[in-house]
């Protein structure tokens, strides 16, 4: 399989950039490089990862300042043209602030920073981030956030549901959607969504922290593996046409 070129954006205050780099580079064996937020071009990357952390200290609102960093102009251009963008945790918050994904992430309803493993039921197994999953799959993935309470108005939530844009929901280990399994008060237990065209994913949980076998959990690999395989599928389609 050809190598996919990943770019990990680094903002002042990013702190999961190395985790993401390690997961896709050292563990998954693909090409990866850091992209400093002051750069103006993504150049030739296939996938942009906006990693977790506390960009700009979460001042004003999480992600509100980061979206004005020079590189974000090119991320928006890239994403709107169908380029693959993956925002994890703070990266998800940045994508909503930048208008690439709908909704917003509110303070956790517990008012606490929550750092633990959670279970995610895969809701859409046809996205390019979940093609390697089968219906009913439940992944164990860690979360670490204080503002992960996904909010959108009912009309938007209904649209997300109707379009299959809800990719992951917080569930019990066997897959039941319960209030108890919802760690932050998210509307309809939403943990991750894609945009309408399916090329941009935002999720609060950290799949990059569940890739290296030495950490005892490789469930996160399924997401990166799906993504990488989606490129081969697209190439096959392109070669046939």
């Amino acid at each position: 399989m050809p190598k996919v070129k990943f770019g990990v954006i680094v903002f002042p205050g990013s702190n999961c950039d190395h985790d993401a780099h390690h997961a896709v580079g050292a563990v998954m064996n693909h090409d990866v490089r850091y992209i400093w937020h002051k750069e103006s071009s993504l150049e030739d990357v296939d996938v942009v990862i906006i990693p977790g952390g506390f960009s700009y200290g979460d001042y004003l609102r999480c992600g509100a300042i980061a979206r004005f960093s020079p590189i974000m102009k090119d991320v928006v251009r890239f994403g709107r043209r169908g380029g693959v963008v993956m925002g994890i945790c703070n990266g998800f918050q940045i994508l909503t602030e930048a208008g690439l994904l709908p909704g917003a992430l509110l303070r956790n309803d517990s008012l606490r920073f929550v750092c633990k493993d959670v279970y995610l039921r895969v809701e859409n197994t046809h996205s390019r981030f979940t093609g390697d999953c089968v219906a009913g799959d439940v992944l164990r993935i860690p979360i670490a956030h204080g503002d992960g309470n996904f909010f959108a108005d009912d009309e938007t939530l209904n649209r997300l549901e109707g379009n299959g844009q809800i990719v992951f929901r917080y569930s019990a280990p066997a897959g039941e959607l319960t209030d108890g399994a919802n760690p932050n008060g998210s509307s309809r237990n939403i943990a991750g969504i894609i945009n309408e065209t399916g090329n941009i994913l935002g999720m609060m949980p950290h799949p990059e922290r569940a890739c290296d076998a030495v950490l005892g959990n490789t469930d996160g690999q399924k997401i990166f593996k799906s993504l990488v395989e989606s490129f081969s599928v697209h190439e096959v389609v392109n070669n046939l046409s």
């Binding site: 004003l60 609102r61 509100a64 709908p102 509110l106 303070r107 008012l111 909010f151």
Partner: protein
């Protein structure tokens, strides 16, 4: 330069001062407000209700044109200071006189 002639070149100049409050939209549960309300009730002020927590932001705008000052304030609220998905904002814009060199 002659000090006297310099002193005579002061003139009055106005700037505008904006004060902005940003709060969670009324339809959104504000858990911080709830927690503070609980504290207020613990102090015995049980008539206090609907506590909401928000943000306060202030700045000056170097213009002597009120319309422009109000436009800038509104635009910064819409584009950066608040997120319309989850927040409402309100502001006041007041004229401030100060003396500057002409």
């Amino acid at each position: 330069m002659n000090r006297k002639s310099q002193a005579s070149t002061f003139r009055e100049w106005s700037v505008f001062h904006s004060t902005i409050t940003v709060t969670l939209r009324k339809s959104i549960l504000d858990p911080q407000g709830k927690a503070v309300e609980h504290g207020v009730h613990s102090l015995g002020y049980d008539r206090v209700a609907h506590v909401r927590i928000g943000k306060y932001i202030e700045f000056d705008i170097n213009t002597n044109d009120r319309t422009e000052a109000e436009r800038i304030t509104k635009e910064t609220c819409e584009k950066l200071l608040s997120n319309p998905v989850m927040e409402d904002f309100s502001y006041t814009v007041e004229e401030k006189k100060s003396k500057v060199h002409a």
